[in-house]
């Protein structure tokens, strides 16, 4: 009973998020514009040396752009509710875990689609050769889970606080940094070899699990006054 109602609530929430996204297109569009502007800037300014850029450098650039894009946009899932004055209604009618899971999925879809689109843009503009598609998608998938999980709790924290525009970037930077450093390492491996060993992906999975569980538990404390 409880389980089905949770799933039901999560379903409704995800549907609502996607509907709102479809109507305003504010989330993905700002995400896209922000990261594409950064990429164009990199591409234009490095045009002269682009052919001699190593894969490691390109991977690092990719994650730096995605990192800043996430810092600039991932709090929107909650701050948007606050701006519209719907946060309290959500707090009253929807159980905490349903909200957490719903917002997590929304954030994850945003970052994951962003990773893929930005990846394609990198292939086109920076002439990156990807030898193995599946491991690259796996890295995006695993990495984006961690980013979305931390982003969900921290976005909620920001919407419950005094809501400074830069607050989300300030508080999420140190939390995101370990996964980004790991991702830069692992992406280079994933792009060049079909390696699915635990040694390569274990730490990212560990980060995902720890952050997801911790965020989910802490979210309860935040949600109920």
């Amino acid at each position: 009973m409880l389980r089905s109602s949770l799933l039901h609530n999560v379903g409704i929430l995800i549907k609502k998020e996607l509907q709102m996204e479809m109507r305003s297109k504010s989330g993905l569009m700002s995400f896209l514009q922000f990261s594409f502007i950064s990429l164009f800037l990199v591409s234009i300014s490095m045009n002269a040396v682009a052919s001699s850029m190593s894969l490691e450098l390109l991977v690092a650039l990719f994650w730096v752009i995605l990192f800043f894009t996430s810092l600039a946009t991932l709090d929107k899932a909650f701050t948007r509710e606050k701006e519209r004055g719907t946060l309290l209604a959500l707090q009253l009618y929807v159980p905490s875990q349903a909200v957490f899971i719903g917002k997590f999925f929304y954030n994850f879809l945003m970052v994951f689609s962003m990773s893929i689109l930005l990846g394609i843009a990198f292939i086109v503009l920076m002439d990156v050769t990807i030898s193995y598609i599946a491991p690259s998608l796996l890295v995006f998938f695993l990495g984006d889970i961690g980013i979305a999980a931390a982003g969900t709790l921290l976005g909620a924290l920001v919407s419950f606080s005094h809501n400074d525009n830069y607050l989300f970037a300030i508080i999420s930077f140190p939390i995101f940094l370990p996964i980004f450093l790991l991702l830069i390492q692992v992406t280079t491996i994933a792009l060049t070899s079909p390696d699915y060993s635990f040694q390569t992906y274990g730490l990212i999975v560990a980060y995902d699990v720890i952050v997801l569980v911790a965020s989910s538990i802490l979210f309860d404390y935040l949600w109920y006054e």
């Binding site: 931390a150 709790l153 921290l154 924290l157 419950f160 606080s161 005094h162 400074d164 607050l167 300030i170 508080i171 930077f173 140190p174 939390i175 940094l177 370990p178 450093l181 790991l182 390492q185 730490l203 980060y207 720890i210 952050v211 911790a214 965020s215 802490l218 404390y221 935040l222």
Partner: protein, 208 residues
């Protein structure tokens, strides 16, 4: 009583560092900085842990007193973290030739500094005391579960210039006996100092 112990221990540490510790191979007398640098870095991690413990206590009890303690631990930790970073940078300049070179431990202490700074920023602005306490506690705990990745895992991935006399995988200690005792005394001194300041009434933060 505790003050007397602190003074005595402090004097002992100073005596050991300046009169007993021999020149270290490759470091000379610069090694003296280590007896300040390692303990303050240790305390900045202890402070972070203490803050997390009081954050859990607050989320369970909703007593503002626990939040005050957690906040105070962070303030002190921030201060010790700056000391660790600065002393480390000077030590690095003297021995490795540059103030900063993104050694894994430099990276982790830098991120700890950022966490402290972010925590203090989060507490700015006017909010109800209970809401402020709740938000801070949650942030402390989330950053606390992420911290092991920085302290223990990144140094294994990236090449480090730091010697590993105390923390290494094989469990051996590569130090002179006198150096170990001096380091232990200094660690004890700074740890007691931290808790003395943490429980000092109306120091830095008004008692709730």
């Amino acid at each position: 009583m505790i003050n007397a112990i602190l003074v005595a221990l402090g004097a002992l540490v100073l005596y050991l560092v300046f009169f007993q510790v021999p020149e270290a191979e490759g470091l000379g007398y610069y090694v003296r900085i280590a007896f300040f640098h390692i303990p303050v870095a240790w305390v900045s991690v202890v402070a972070f842990t203490t803050s997390a413990v009081y954050a859990i206590k607050y989320l369970r009890s909703h007593q503002l007193k626990d939040d005050m303690r957690s906040y105070k631990a962070c303030l002190l930790g921030f201060f010790f973290c700056i000391l660790a970073t600065v002393s480390g940078a000077i030590f690095a300049k003297l021995t490795w030739g540059a103030y900063w070179n993104w050694d894994p431990r430099e990276t982790s202490i830098f991120i700890l500094l950022l966490i402290y700074a972010a925590y203090l920023t989060l507490r700015q602005g006017s909010m109800e005391a209970s809401r402020k306490a709740k938000i801070s506690a949650i942030y402390t705990l989330l950053s606390f579960v992420v911290m092991p990745f920085l302290v223990f895992i990144l140094p294994r991935i990236y090449f480090s210039l730091h010697p590993e006399p105390l923390i290494n995988s094989s469990g051996h200690i590569y130090m002179d006996t006198i150096m170990i005792w001096t380091l232990m005394a200094s660690l004890l001194f700074f740890t007691i100092l931290f808790f003395r300041l943490l429980f000092k009434k109306n120091y830095l933060v008004k008692e709730v």
